[in-house]
């Protein structure tokens, strides 16, 4: 089963007015390892045209990317107002 299909079963309450994680594209541009793309379990970090593409909408809020990035590009905050992932089982 593909990761996209797995994420498809999840219930997200996306906050359209607030991205709880942001990245600094300037830092990512020259990143030698791009470890985020391997570490993130929700496939939020992908490389498109040699640039890091990040989508917060699929984030399951594990916190991996925050320490996975050792270059200080990832700014991690909690989603607000009950937004984000809403698990049924956990």
């Amino acid at each position: 089963m593909e990761i996209e299909e797995k994420l498809g079963v999840l219930n997200y309450k996306t906050d359209k007015s607030y991205a709880h994680i942001t990245i600094d594209p300037v830092i990512c541009e020259t990143c030698p390892d791009r470890f985020c793309t391997f570490a993130c379990p929700a496939h939020c970090y992908t490389v498109i045209d040699n640039k890091i593409n990040f989508k917060y909408e699929d984030c399951v809020e594990c916190g991996t990317c925050f320490f996975a990035c050792s270059h200080g590009s990832v700014k991690w905050t909690n989603p607000k107002g009950g937004h984000g992932i809403k698990y049924k089982y956990g």
């Binding site: 219930n11 007015s17 009950g82 937004h83 809403k86 049924k88």
Partner: protein, 266 residues
């Protein structure tokens, strides 16, 4: 005089958690948790925007089981001033007629009001009856399919989204407005307001509070009879990959099978 706004809100099963039973083909809502009906959030947001701009007292009313209290507290956490839960076993299985009547009786008991806001329809039944039904029972003007609204003097100016046009109407109070899903981005509740809401508490009204006879409410007051719920038969679909040269062949096949017909019907 402070403007009085009433927002009608329903707690519905989270649409993301409702699934179709693979055996019975009916909607299984048992596992779904309660959330605020999405367009009701948008209706509340319009009420709170009016409150921010010209000042208003916003009352949220909801009809439902005791656990709908959480949804009302959330609304008060976003800025509503007062919450009323209309809850009574006698209201169970009400159709849109009995529901509209019950809500109208609630609003009547609240007394003074200028604007009533509601979601255009609910995600769990989607009839769109209740907003207009309440307006009819109260015998007041109504504006449907609103995307935004603002108060101008002693009127409300509403932008309606219609199929082929946008329409702006101005209506004097009292008026009921139903709001479209996604009309705005609802604000978040704050901890301060949620604490205050819990400390203040909500009011719980039953059919006796409203003075409604049992024959008018719940299943007894509901003229709707659901005959049967059927799942439409799935149409068979097929796909086939063909090359450009095979197109005439395919067209012949489609005629043969009667899938396409000539204009003259031959």
């Amino acid at each position: 005089m402070t403007l009085k706004i009433i927002v009608m809100m329903k707690q519905v099963p989270d649409a993301e958690e409702i699934f179709i039973d693979p055996v019975t083909y009916t909607l299984n809502r048992t596992a779904a948790r309660g959330v605020i009906n999405i367009p009701d959030e948008n209706a509340l947001e319009i009420a709170l925007q009016i409150k921010d701009k010209v000042g208003a007292e916003v009352t949220v009313i909801s009809m439902g089981p005791p656990q709908a209290e959480e949804a009302i507290i959330e609304c008060m956490g976003r800025g509503a001033d007062r919450g009323i839960l209309i809850t009574d076993r006698a209201f169970a299985a009400a159709d849109t007629y009995a529901t509209s009547l019950t809500l109208a009786a609630t609003i009547d008991k609240i007394g003074k009001y200028d604007i009533i806001l509601a979601g255009e329809s609910t995600t769990d039944s989607g009839t769109g009856h209740v907003g207009p039904g309440v307006a009819e029972f109260l015998d007041i003007d109504q504006v449907t399919y609103a995307e935004s609204a603002e108060v101008v003097d002693d009127k409300i100016r509403v932008k309606r989204i219609l199929e082929d046009a946008d329409e702006v109407v101005e209506v004097p109070f009292p008026v009921l407005v139903t709001v479209l899903t996604g009309a705005n981005i609802p604000r978040r509740a704050t901890l301060r307001r949620k604490i205050d809401a819990i400390k203040k508490g909500i009011e719980r009204w039953d059919h006796e509070t409203l003075g409604l006879p049992p024959d008018w409410i719940g299943i007894r007051g509901s003229p709707t009879i659901v005959g049967a719920v059927k799942v439409p038969e799935e149409k068979k679909r097929a796909s086939k990959k063909i090359s450009l040269e095979q197109i005439p062949e395919m067209i012949d096949e489609l005629f043969e099978k009667g899938i396409i017909k000539r204009e003259d019907g031959a």
